[in-house]
């Protein structure tokens, strides 16, 4: 007999470490995502049953993989007896030559690229990635995105159905397609992180650590699998530098705390150090002229400017504006322009900032952050009535409960 608590904590750890590997290797061997997912889940269920009695095996990961393999073979034998054609039809297709990019020989990467394939709808990619790569259960994913369990189960089933019917390949894309496809994977991970970082829904916790930490965990995995990719490093750094501030981002009363008002002593120094080290590594590569930074690297660099000073008043705003200029060059969206205008307001004063913000009114009228930014600049300029109207709009549009609390208090403090 092994202590139940020991087994349980070992199982949680092993599930985290091994789930994606087990599913990915089963999918590769049997060519069927459904089977891979089900047998991996069954193998873990068997471990829950047996380990407390038999003890934790010396190599738990291998035990899970072997058990899942046996179960899959048993299942296929039973089905083969019943209907051999049926089994044939369920097979995923893989007649690709051995991995074309050599260094990357990990089935988990195939799994990730399949789950994040551009032929799947974004919400299906997110759900599939969390289930197949992250190992979250369907109820957990449903809860995370405020969707009914049955609907989430259907979304995942439909996505797997399309992978089979349309023959979405189970492989790492060719080198020429790789940058685009990696960008697709990162978009999925960033969406998961952001949903956790600024959770929507009145009833929802303002920060969903389950989602942010899962996004970071998966991005770390991608970083291990694609260590040379600058944007992967950039996204990981961006997530770490954001996560580092999360304890200071929400006040005791559940209100969003702006960056300049946060208690910097409450920031997680270890995460900041790790994030800044990643940013420095990328800056060195870029300085050597070996790469042009993409959006995540630039966003991480901006975050590093903020987090590297102990006092908000020491922020190097000219550098922030310069980085936003770089970002706007590759992503000329009004949201980037809004963030640049916020930095400009710090550098050149609220009046100059407001002029820049007001130019974006047409594009961003339905975006809460646009009105929140205007409200703050109008408040600083002493235009209370205009500020109040802008706060009203921002509150109306904001989905995050902590943000609504913050904006409501600010509106209440206006004089005149």
């Amino acid at each position: 007999m092994t202590d139940a608590a020991t087994v349980e904590s070992a199982l949680i750890r092993i599930h985290h470490e091994e789930w994606a590997r087990v599913v990915a290797s089963l999918a590769r061997r049997f060519g069927d995502l459904d089977l891979a997912e089900e047998m991996a889940a069954e193998a873990f269920a068997t471990a829950v049953e047996r380990w407390p009695r038999d003890g934790i095996p010396p190599n738990p990961g291998a035990w899970i993989t072997t058990t899942a393999n046996h179960k899959a073979i048993d299942r296929l034998r039973r089905e083969a007896q019943r209907d051999s054609k049926h089994r044939e039809a369920l097979m995923l297709h893989d007649d690709s030559p051995p991995d074309p990019i050599g260094a990357v020989e990990d089935d988990r990467l195939r799994l990730l690229f399949t789950c994040c394939h551009p032929a799947l709808a974004m919400e299906a990619r997110v759900a599939l990635t969390l289930r197949m790569v992250g190992g979250l259960t369907v109820p957990e994913i449903a809860h995370a995105f405020l969707v009914q369990e049955a609907a989430m189960g259907q979304r995942i089933t439909r996505a797997k159905g399309k992978i089979k019917a349309a023959r979405i390949p189970y492989r790492v894309p060719a080198a020429a397609d790789l940058p685009n496809r990696v960008a697709g994977v990162l978009a999925v991970l960033y969406l998961v992180f952001n949903e956790g970082y600024l959770a929507s829904g009145e009833e929802s916790d303002p920060i969903r650590r389950d989602l942010t930490s899962e996004a970071i965990r998966l991005t770390r995995l991608v970083k291990t699998l694609l260590p040379e990719d600058g944007e992967v490093a950039g996204l990981l750094a961006l997530m770490l530098l954001s996560e580092a501030r999360s304890a200071a981002r929400i006040s005791a009363s559940g209100e969003l705390v702006r960056l300049d008002e946060q208690d910097r002593g409450a920031w997680d120094r270890a995460l900041i150090a790790e994030g800044i080290a990643l940013v420095r590594e990328r800056l060195a590569v870029v300085a050597r002229g070996d790469a042009v930074p993409g959006r995540y690297q630039i966003l991480a660099a901006i975050s590093a400017v903020h987090t590297s000073v102990p006092d908000a008043r020491d922020t190097d705003w000219s550098q922030v504006v310069a980085l936003y200029d770089q970002l706007a060059a590759i992503d000329p969206s009004p949201i980037v322009a809004l963030n640049r205008a916020i930095a400009v307001a710090e550098l050149d004063g609220p009046e100059v900032g407001l002029r820049a913000v007001d130019r974006l009114g047409e594009a961003l009228d339905g975006y809460h952050a646009f009105h929140a930014t205007r409200a703050d600049l109008l408040r600083r300029l002493g235009r209370s009535a205009d500020a109040r109207a802008a706060y009203d709009r921002a509150i109306e549009l904001a989905g995050n409960s902590a943000e609504v609390a913050y904006l409501t208090r600010r509106r209440g403090q206006l004089v005149g």
Binding site: H93, D95, S96, H117, A119, R167, I168, P169, D177
Partner: protein, 119 residues
């Protein structure tokens, strides 16, 4: 290997230059799609290609009853209809999508890629 239909979406009505607004555009797309189809044949992925007449030329037939019923088509009212299609045979969706991107550029229209054959 698997077959995919690359379905070209076009306007509901055709004019003097087929489904294209000018003689130049029609000539340009004919040349580009011809070259694309030739390449499909060379690469061995070609199965079929043809254009469709405009949707107002459709007739809907219902033969499920004792006597067939013919009605003026198309079956579904829409702003755009399938104006033509290629069928290609390739290993997987990624290859089909790559070809569809080239086909779309050649014929200057959006393309829907659908695997052939149901279960």
């Amino acid at each position: 290997m698997a077959q995919y239909a690359l379905m070209v979406w076009g306007p509901s009505e055709y004019g003097e230059f087929g489904s294209y607004p000018s003689a130049e555009e029609n000539a340009a797309q004919l040349e580009a799609t011809g070259a694309f189809t030739a390449r499909l044949r060379d690469e061995g992925s070609f199965v079929f290609v043809n254009g469709l007449a405009e949707a107002s030329a459709s007739t809907v037939v219902d033969g499920r009853g004792p006597a067939p019923i013919f009605t003026d088509g198309p079956y579904v009212e829409s702003k755009e209809y399938i104006a033509g299609l290629w069928i290609v045979e390739v290993p997987d969706l990624d290859e089909a999508l790559r070809l569809a991107a080239e086909a779309s550029s050649a014929c200057r229209r959006k393309i829907e890629v659908r695997p052939m054959g149901g279960e």
